[in-house]
Amino acid sequence: MVDRIADIWGTRTPYPKDGLWPVRVDQALQEGVTEADVDRWVQSACVLCSNGCACDIAVKDGAMVGIRGRAGDLVNHGRMGPKGLFASWQGVSSGERLQRPLIREHGRLVECDWDTAMDRITERSRQLLHDRGPLSHGFYTSGQLFLEEYYALAVIGKAGIGTPHMDGNTRLCTATAAAALKESFGADGQPGDYTDIDSCDAIFLYGHNMAETQTVLWSRVLDRIAGPDRPRLVCVDPRDTEVARYADVHLAVRPGTNLALMNALVREILANGWLDEAYVRDHTLGLDELRATVEPWTAEAAAAICDVPAADIREAARIFGTSGRVLSTVLQGFYQSAQATASSCQVNNLHLLRGLLGRPGCGILQMNGQPTAQNNRECGADGDLPGFRNWENPEHIDELARLWNVDPLTIPHWSPPTHAMQIFRYAEQGSIEFLWISATNPAVSMPDLPRIRNILATPGLFLVVQDLYLTETALAADVVLPAAGWGEKTGTFTNVNRTVHLSDKAVEPPGEARSDLEIFLDYARRMEFTTLEGGPLLSWAGPEDGFEAWKECSRGRPCDYTGVSYERLRGGSGIPWPCNDENPDGRVRLYGDGVFPTDPEYCESYGHDLLTGATVGPEAFRARAPSGRAILKAADYHPPHEEPDREYPLRYTTGRTAYHFHTRTKTGRSRPLTRAAPSAWVELSPHDAGRLGIGEGDLVRVTSRRGRIEVPARISDIRSGTIFAPFHYGYWDRDGSPGEQPTAANELTITEWDPVSKQPVFKNAAVKVEKIGDATGPAPAPSTTASRPSAAAAGPRSVQPTAGGRQGQATEWVGAAPPPRFPEAIGRSGQDGRP
């Protein structure tokens, strides 16, 4: 047994370059349960980060009692991370689950039956559609539903109601990944693959604390590092993360200055002639504009803005420019910071300049934060159209109209689908009067919480919340719908590297809870949404019908699912799309031929100006004649809009810890995870702590122009002048409100977003910090992660190492099976896959 709270990444299984990552099967069973007690194992994949680890759920007496990684899956080779081991089934098995619908009566939420709740919703919905039209309706969903559920919601919103106001919390986590891929390559679609870790010579992690956000993927990197020929590592992060500790170059930039750094890295590649001129000539457009944009950004110029040594920038560029095969991964440090899309496009540009795409070890992983974020992007329940279709292309709208058998005018396409922040603004202004929130908790996760709480409490707003638990958001609802969780329903979802997994129903949901799909289909039925011929718009009986309908929608598009079936997904490994006649077993990486989806008739977007977000438009895009070439997009650096000043002298950034997911609705119900990171803290550097007279564990007040939090201080190795707060700690486990001691990181964040991706800027704000109370012990921050106490901190070393004890134990079988390989690991139609 291994303590997987103390040892987040588990036992090392070193392997060499171009080797196969060894299998290690991880398993955790409920205390007192042995394998012999398990009645059956039900196939699924983990939903506690975006990695998509395939697993089997142990079921005993109709209840979930354990989890085990699937050895034969290409994603995880048997491994599970601490969140999957200790909060997957545990996170939905709490007695606090919602079991019956609730409606607001005389200001209080009271239980009712489904008919009453749904009648109340449809009555209001019909009335508003009649009086105010479709623009009165907004839908704000998640990155954690299943593909079939997003697609149902997309059809309801776009073809049933006809509202452009649909988005997901994917806007907060993955919108920039999608936007950057669209700008550079013409359509969404992850170019790289996890096996690029196996084959690369260097890995660049841009604002990506992989060690905590995708712990199993980081295990793969650690196993390469422990092998005979480790890849070089470059880390861009203001904190001393686990990634930074292994890095050859750690660029601890000032938050908000990523683009200055990226422009300098691109300039170094160009200035040193490290580009593949033939590749650039044959497969890209825009080199002259790119060159002109980055020209002023010498390493020295960027060093002055980013506050990192110019020599380190040069060394990072040299590693990128001279390594044979480079893998880049990008996450929230870029996506949730200033000039997000422009910075992320520069990562794509670095690869395009060197022609490092579509070959083993040469990949880009524009990461997702959530397990099913990719499906929201594909299915169009967010700010996209289903099947990566282009809202500016009338042909694409006609395709959808034919597919759904509705009038093309029903489908809103006069401008891009409304992004989340704008949906909330319309609700604030009163023009959206019906807002349906599913599987997300904006009362804690959105920026500037004082404002969001006011919006949710707007008297004229009819708020439907569909969730597992009575979240902070649900407390403000007019109707609360109890949803079935993971393991309680069947459906598919797709991870960061396009791998589709099936999650089968293992147990019954508690009480009267229903799957999100059932709820959406019920709403569509009651609202009598119809096709042009008068038949029901959504006639699916269940999830497999939804999947088959989706396959037709995806046909011929980059995310082609037509070769995938529930049958093929059972037994074998997950299957990476596109999976069709041309790629019968799916496809590991995209763009090996250097042909990109920029054909104007095919592309998902004609692109934007990266500084303003102005659309390029069809005519200008066609005039460039991209003909399958990628586009080298660029923008000049502009300082963040809120910079430290005399009143608020410090920079503020937010993020997650390895032990929690989102607003802890699941992980907060796991004892070992909660013990590892029980409550909120902030991190500051020894220098700032000394200057402000703050010691380990002292209670501090952090204040911005929006609000304040009051939490204990951890003296860590974050860069000086920067304060970090984890964003997990809302109020559901207190009394649902911030009270006198607010702890949610988003009390302080600013209402601002990237002009292209519309992703909010969570990682840059100006704050001040003051001590308001003496320590009663060390801060409740883990010692195993980036929040590890600084060795340079003054005072006694009182921080106990984070450990899981008896409850944090998991079994590991190293080398339990030969490593899976593509395509052998993929199940064939009409035969059982390997167990």
């Binding site: 401008s415 319309y426 500084l611 659309t615 601002e752």
Partner: protein, 163 residues
């Protein structure tokens, strides 16, 4: 030669546009994208004025001429409220920016005829940004129009402004 009249007009129009962007940025501060981008675009206009100034001085700015004076665009003196007010204000900015845009085009024509490389360099540096300003205004207005004109309350007083 009357190029100096046009240069003076352009110089002043860039200044007027900058002031108007700032006016809208502050008047609609509750729309964060409008607030920040209008400030950024105002700075672009300032920069256009700055690089244009040596050319203006070289040709001699003439703001006294009676006839073209009437072509000077008035800036926004105040901003409106509510969703429709935002749309109208952005539309006013669009008209001002269009005026600047077409004036750059005429100045470029004259600069070409004069083979004035210095002037043409200035035009190249600025007119693309003005075109992007127009595209952004149109992008933002197209997004705002349906909600403002179809779904929002007609009276600005009914608009619940951000706290």
């Amino acid at each position: 030669m009357s190029l100096n009249i046009y240069l003076g007009m352009l110089h002043q129009a860039e200044q007027t546009l900058a002031e108007s962007f700032r006016q809208v940025a502050e008047g609609h501060a509750a729309e964060p994208d409008v607030h920040h981008l209008c400030h950024a675009l105002a700075q672009q206009c300032d920069e256009h004025s700055r690089v244009l100034l040596p050319v203006v001085q070289r040709y001699g700015e003439d703001r006294s001429d009676g006839e073209p004076e009437r072509l000077h665009a008035e800036g926004l003196s105040t901003t409106r409220q509510g969703p429709v007010g935002l749309l109208r204000d952005l539309q006013d900015l669009y008209l001002l920016a269009s005026f600047v845009d077409v004036t750059w085009t005429m100045v470029k024509q004259a600069g070409s005829a004069l083979r004035d490389r210095g002037l043409l360099d200035v035009v190249t540096r600025c007119d693309g940004e003005t075109a992007t300003q127009l595209r952004w205004l149109q992008t933002r207005m197209k997004q705002a129009a349906p909600q403002a004109l179809v779904a929002a309350c007609a009276s600005p007083a009914a608009d619940r402004a951000a706290p």
